[in-house]
Amino acid sequence: MQKLDIDEIKPSMVLAATVKDKDGNILFLKGVELTERHINILHNRDIKKVVVEGCPVKRENNMSGSICNEIDRRFITAGSNPVVLRIRDIIKELMI
């Protein structure tokens, strides 16, 4: 899962989260494979960020390591329940 700027979105990427507009109306459900038409609509509706499946854009970001470490540190005390580990990983994936 990766959060991308609208300008990074390319056809065939798959939505990992439902996209809503500013008023909370659902535009596209998760699981939709994006086409040029979808991407145009996202632009027209002024959507800035979209969460997609996988990690299609490789980033050379020095910050991501330290953000991950910081999040890991916060979760030291959270136990090893798979749900809480998933919460940790979702937050990581959305922050970097």
Binding site: M1, A16, A17, T18, K20, G24, K30, K49, V51, E70, I71, R73, R74, F75, I76, T77, A78, G79, N81, V83, V84, R86, I87, R88, I90, I91, L94, M95
Partner: protein
């Protein structure tokens, strides 16, 4: 426990719960609470009193306009906010403001953490279509009140608790257990009892770390439990320690959320946070919430 240990424990309880040292509620807040004891209280009268207190007014307006609450925006008058938020939430704001002000320089960021939890819990309550949204938000606003009382009444022990959290990476709950053998959820419940708060709010305060053990308002309590974890996990606020509390597996089961629901919830919460200026100031590397 040894006889000496029990003695220490009862001594600590005496100091914690000595009525004469209880945090006093400012006169104007007391007057509002008194008015609201009557279920047919006058919205005008309550609103006028709230307007006299700038800190209280700003908190009331901030909460009613919260992007998480999502129902309303652009509410500019206290009168309208009082009607929309309802008496429980107004009482919750007053009690937490009174109490947190006392501890403000001692526990920086606790109000911010409580506010964030409250709004995230409101967002989740709405998602679950619960009619108890007002009580859930109030409970979330007050879930950590026990921490304030511990800080106020047991200054030396509080320093030990903080040191244990900082140096050993203990949760505040474990550190409290180790140093004073009583935890902030139990202390908070005692305070809530003293204030005669509704049972749903008492359940949230008492079981916010273990909703599975709650025999009353399980789902409401589980929502605040999850909000606490998500808010801490994202690092939006600071409540005395930067660490995410242990997830209560039974509490999680109560909510019956799928992995896919969880992704949607966190994505949406983070989007609202990042879009909102009021929240963005809370996003930090786990330091002070200011």
């Amino acid at each position: 426990m040894t006889a000496a240990g029990m003695q220490i424990n009862s001594q600590i309880k005496d100091r914690l719960f000595s009525i004469k040292d209880l945090p006093t509620i400012p006169a104007i807040h007391g007057r509002i609470l008194k008015l609201m004891e009557d279920i047919n209280y006058s919205v005008d009268e309550v609103s006028k009193l709230i307007e006299k207190d700038q800190v209280l007014s700003s908190k009331v307006l901030k909460l009613v306009n919260s992007p998480f609450y999502g129902l309303y925006s652009g509410i500019a008058t206290i009168r309208r906010a009082v009607i929309l938020l309802g008496s429980n939430l107004i009482k919750g704001i007053i009690l937490s403001t009174s109490l947190f002000d006392i501890a403000d320089n001692k526990l920086p960021g606790l109000w911010d953490h409580s506010y964030c939890c409250s709004t995230v819990a409101g967002f989740l309550a709405k998602r679950f279509n619960l009619i108890t949204i007002e009580e859930i938000m109030t409970g979330a606003l007050l879930h950590d009140i026990g921490k304030v009382l511990i800080k106020k009444q047991l200054l030396e022990e509080s320093k030990e608790i903080e040191a244990a959290v900082k140096s050993n990476g203990m949760t505040i709950l474990d550190a409290e257990r180790m140093v004073i053998n009583i935890t902030h959820d139990d202390v908070g419940l005692w305070l809530a009892d003293t204030w005669n708060l509704p049972s749903i709010i008492k359940d949230i305060i008492a079981y916010h770390h273990k909703p599975g053990m709650c025999s009353g308002h399980k789902k409401e309590t589980a929502i605040v439990h999850l909000s606490d974890i998500i808010v801490k996990g994202i690092g939006i606020s600071y409540s005395g320690d930067p660490f995410v509390p242990m997830l209560d597996a039974d509490g999680w089961d109560i909510l019956a959320l799928s992995e896919s629901d969880l992704v949607d919830i966190i994505v949406e919460i983070m989007e609202i946070i990042q879009a909102d200026k009021g929240f963005s100031r809370y996003i930090h590397g786990g330091k002070d919430g200011k």
